[in-house]
């Protein structure tokens, strides 16, 4: 024991990193090692059992036909669920997927607005904290609550703010913002029966989501901007950069870690969107993949575990690309 404990003093002189680490761990007493294994092991076990095991079970279930009632009564049917999604249910799947894509494009634009807000608020604004609090406030509300607030006071046909402003509150000329599944634009893709497009009510939901997303990105970005070395801005100014050039060439590259986080948050939010749409009782035309997964598993016409899982796997694959890209970026920093 004694000898082992003094060991760090020797190795500290010339520490080859790998060996030093290992030795430090091996210096510990048996009891300490057990403690450490428990400290790391129990949380890992909980995480693996309740997150990763289910994820793999979903993948397995996607190759089965099962009503979800009795364990073991599933039938293996190969890729038939996926086949069904892309052919039989293409009228559901592709519009939902397209809604996710629209959401992604739209939230990306919102992220840019959030970055702009952060940039403006970083300019020694008097009362900056107040502006920040206001822009950030929607973020502490759940997306379900955001949905309820917008539905009841902004989009309500009879008394909602938009209709009042537009003078469309009379029976007959009211605009039903959340119920209207008319398309703003649509186009046909050869091979697909259903046209893809943006419905009016989905656009309304997008706007409500923007209200929350912009503040989120703003706060993340603002914190990053605060840590940018002021000397760099001065240098850029002295070199005659205009504001856009300074942002584009100096600040944006320095902010890379935050840019990655903002990008990942945007993508993941767009892909796993569920709450706001479900809270509004998923009106026609607003379905996204997350809602489809849930509908096939529990809702009306639920009990299609295999099919629902296959939808889930498609969602998982879409997310996984971004997750891996993100971790790859992160991993390099953890290493250093």
């Amino acid at each position: 024991m004694e000898a082992e404990i003094t060991a760090p003093v020797e190795t500290a002189a010339v520490p080859p990193v790998g060996r030093r680490r290992r030795r430090r761990y091996s210096q510990l007493s048996r009891g300490d090692k057990i403690t450490l294994w428990l400290m790391a092991g129990i949380p890992t076990l909980v995480h693996v059992v309740f997150v990763w095991v289910p994820a793999f079970m979903t993948i397995s279930l996607s190759f089965t036909k099962w009503d979800g009632l009795k364990l073991g009564s599933w039938q293996l049917i190969g890729f038939r669920n996926y086949w069904a999604i892309f052919t039989v249910f293409d009228g559901k799947f592709f519009p939902a997927l397209f809604n996710n894509v629209l959401l992604l494009v739209f939230l990306s634009l919102c992220s840019i607005v959030g970055v702009l807000f952060a940039y403006l608020l970083d300019k020694n604004i008097r009362g900056s904290a107040i502006y920040q609090s206001i822009f950030y406030m929607p973020v502490v509300l759940s997306l379900a609550i955001v949905g309820f607030i917008w539905k009841s006071v902004m989009y309500s046909p009879r008394q909602g703010l938009f209709n009042v402003v537009l003078g469309r509150t009379e029976q007959g000329n009211q605009i039903d913002w959340v119920g209207n599944a008319e398309k703003i634009f649509e186009f046909h893709i050869p091979g697909l029966d259903t046209p893809l497009g943006l419905t009016k009510n989905f656009a309304a939901i997008l706007i409500a989501m923007a209200w929350r997303h912009i503040g989120y990105v703003m706060v993340l970005y603002l914190a990053g901007l605060k840590s940018v070395d002021p000397a760099m801005r001065e240098a850029a100014a002295i070199d005659g950069c205009n504001e856009w050039q300074a942002f584009r060439r100096v600040i944006f590259p320095v902010m890379k870690p935050i840019n990655v986080v903002v990008f990942v948050i945007t993508v993941i939010e767009a892909l796993r969107a569920f709450d706001i749409i479900f809270a509004l009782k998923s009106p026609p035309g607003t379905k996204v993949l997350g809602v489809l997964v849930r509908d096939n598993l529990v809702g009306e016409g639920g009990g299609q575990v295999g099919l629902g899982s296959a939808y889930g796997v498609v969602l998982l694959l879409l997310c996984l690309g971004f997750i891996i890209w993100y971790l790859f970026n992160n991993y390099r920093e953890v290493e250093t």
Binding site: T35, L61, I134, Y136, M137, I145, A279, V293
Partner: protein, 293 residues
């Protein structure tokens, strides 16, 4: 020549203030109108619209929302879910972060990768197997308000899911923070014969207090706001949390918008108070995570 840039910047500065103030006002519109609508009788706003001057202000909507949404009960449910979850999440993620950041061994990075990736998985992808797992786990009804005889529909199921999901994020934040604490501190304790657990509880944990406070604030709002797990795991039971109680308000064909607005405001109140009171911790926690997570 010298003046021009100065004047231009003064104008652009004025424009900046106008722009920001305008946007801030726009941002406030939904919440302010929700509060305003919540205080007014439905018949009145139906007749005169939401912009009209109030003839009568009333608390009736809040009272109705509270009783119809059964909020005494659902609020209690939320607290019984959120508080144990936060305690467990912070405990697990501290021990985990301590082990991987202070005694780094080979699995360090691998474990962090596993946790972060798991944290980003969409909940929809894993819920069906979890649903089945909970359904297959017997659980005496005496210990919960349900009669399913299993973990499904109990608060414990939701707590487990929250802990499994959120521990990843907190571990990431905490391990980044713990890495900044000098190694010598732990080594000195080891030389003095302190055990690992003592080092954890008496040296490292007290130093992590600000981060733990930030994470607790952040997790409170996230878990309080959870809607997905509440809907899919607690749908049939009596154990619903407050977020899903709004969904019960009003009938299928008739909905009282002012009542919904009042209910939304009641449900939003705790998070808004926490946010306004602990803004620094809150944003601190978020940006701590943003640095890497």
């Amino acid at each position: 020549m010298v003046k021009r840039p100065a004047r231009r910047s003064r104008w652009s500065r004025a424009f900046l203030y106008v722009f920001l103030t305008f946007m801030a006002l726009v941002w406030l519109v939904p919440v302010v109108s929700a509060i305003y609508a919540a205080f007014r009788p439905y018949a009145e706003t139906q007749k005169y619209g939401i912009f009209s001057l109030p003839k009568a202000l009333t608390l009736q909507n809040f009272k109705d929302a509270w009783t119809q949404g059964n909020m005494t009960h659902t609020f209690r449910n939320t607290m019984f879910i959120v508080i144990p979850s936060i305690v467990l999440i912070l405990f697990f993620s501290s021990t985990m972060a301590f082990a991987v950041s202070r005694f780094s061994w080979r699995f360090n990075v691998a474990l962090l990768l596993l946790f972060t990736a798991g944290n980003l998985l969409p909940a929809q992808v894993i819920f069906q197997p979890l649903f089945q797992m909970f359904k297959a786990t017997p659980w005496p009804d005496l210990l919960s308000d349900t009669d399913t005889g299993s973990l499904l529909g109990t608060k414990i199921a939701v707590i487990i899911v929250h802990v499994a999901f959120q521990t990843g994020f907190c571990t990431f934040v905490l391990s980044n923070y713990m890495k900044t604490i000098p190694k010598e501190l732990g080594e000195a304790a080891l030389v003095d014969g302190a055990s690992v657990s003592r080092q954890f509880f008496q040296i490292i944990m007290p130093l992590c207090r600000p981060v733990l406070a930030a994470l607790a604030t952040l997790e409170f709002t996230w878990l309080y706001n959870d809607f997905f797990w509440a809907v899919v795991l607690l749908n049939q039971g009596d154990e619903r949390p407050i977020t899903s109680s709004i969904a019960n308000l009003g009938g299928q064909f008739f909905s009282n918008d002012n009542l919904i607005a009042a209910a939304s405001m009641i449900v939003a109140m705790p998070t808004l108070i926490v946010y306004l009171a602990l803004q620094r911790q809150f944003i601190g926690g978020l940006t701590l995570g943003a640095n890497k997570g």
